[in-house]
């Protein structure tokens, strides 16, 4: 296992434990905040993943692409980034619960 995938696995394990607690304690972002997050994902995540999320330099993020991936790991990828790849950490722009909300939306069908 490479160092970066080990780090990723540790983060995933950590957030798997943490996000269960988050899910119970937190509520969905406010509608205004949801709008900001949708804009962020479409416009700024979109510079690598495509505005329609069909992929670019980064992988596609459509429901079919994500269906076999654990949500906790995806949340960790957004929040902490993915060392060894161009995926940066987004934690200065959102809470972990908001990252989890984004993953949840991505796995259904991401709002326009």
């Amino acid at each position: 296992m490479s160092r970066s995938s080990l780090v990723f696995a540790l983060f995933s394990a950590f957030t798997a434990a943490a996000s269960g607690a988050f899910a119970e304690a937190s509520t969905a972002p406010t509608p205004a905040r949801q709008k900001e997050l949708v804009h962020l994902v479409r416009q700024d995540c979109g510079s690598c993943h495509g505005m329609t999320l069909q992929g670019g330099l980064g992988p596609a993020l459509l429901p079919a692409d994500l269906k076999d991936k654990p949500a906790e790991g995806l949340t960790a990828t957004i929040y902490y980034g993915r060392p060894g790849t161009p995926m940066p950490p987004w934690k200065q722009f959102m809470t972990e619960a908001e990252a989890a909300w984004i993953v949840d939306q991505l796995m259904r069908e991401f709002p326009k």
């Binding site: 979109g46 505005m51 329609t52 161009p86 950490p89």
Partner: protein, 390 residues
Amino acid sequence: MTSLRTLFAACAALFLAACAGQQLRGTGDLGMVIERASGQVTLVNTSSRQAYARIDGLGDLSHASVVYSRDGRYAFVFGRDGGLSKVDLLEAKIVKRVIQSGNAIGGSISQDGRIVVAQNYTPGGIKAFDAETLELLSEVPAEYAPGKYSKVVGLADSPGNKFVYALFDGGEIWVSDFSNPRAPTTSRYPAGLQPYDGLVTPDGRYFLAGLFGEDGVAILDLWQPEKGARKILENYGRGQEKLPVFKMPHLRGWSVAQGKAYLPAIGRHEVLVVDVATWKEVGRIPVRGQPVFVMARPDGRQVWVNFAFPDNGKMDVIDTLAGKAVRAFEPGKGILHMEFSPRGEHLWLSARDDNKVLIIGTERFDTVGEIAAASPSGIFFTSRAARIGF
């Protein structure tokens, strides 16, 4: 008799003009603004500084780019969804459109203007089309190891109907010679970790590939490619931890000014300055964010820099004589792209989140005009038609 003939000629000219519904005109002052959210483009005139037409039906334009036919009349628009559209700037309409891949990132046009090449992420590789008909001529899959295909970045034309590009996943620079457009030949050169974009210098001699996976830039001398690619600006980060990069920088031949190349650092809020004669670093200029576009005014006196999220409302202007940023301002929200008027008296900026294009005087930094556009991204003027490496 003479006057009668003149009168007749004048009548004929009037009649023709009436038939065409418009006066004859050139295209040297025209251009295109991509409206990425709505799949539309707005056609603009850099003399009147106004939009003159809007065209829709171009598909997903979220990372669209444009090259021009050498007569400056037709724009080839490469859409994210693999759509390649040929747009007539004079008639303001799409004359041809094909879906050429699943996921495209841009393209380039050959020295002789007859071949348009698209660079693709999925399936990874390049495809060559007849510029007249958009008929597929040939393709070069970016299979860098058996069964492994790379995303292609940095495609640029170079003299001799050759195209140079880099393989993000494969870590190589490839040169494909389209002397025979239906049977290109390709040479491969190891470059470095994760090339993210590339450029051909304005003289067509060097290809530079910016590296994301390591500190440095790979350079290939296209006059002596047998010497292979080598690295410059190695270890420019000096082992310091990189800042996160929220958007990949873009490279193109516009980075070269006054004998120096101005290149975005990766994970550092700096513009790196390299002497083009020696390819040695001769300076670095602090700026206010992760640079995305580092673009020289055509005369090379100024270099304008925009930034990745979250600093994408800022712009810095470097004075190449002073060797530092002399102007820092916030012209709008979500500054995605910029383009100089052909001789550089104005800069056009797309302010995505303000839904407008701003036109700024480059001497006094005054806003001289603006154009409404829905989520504007790329701005492309026909002056690109005559440039090597576009």
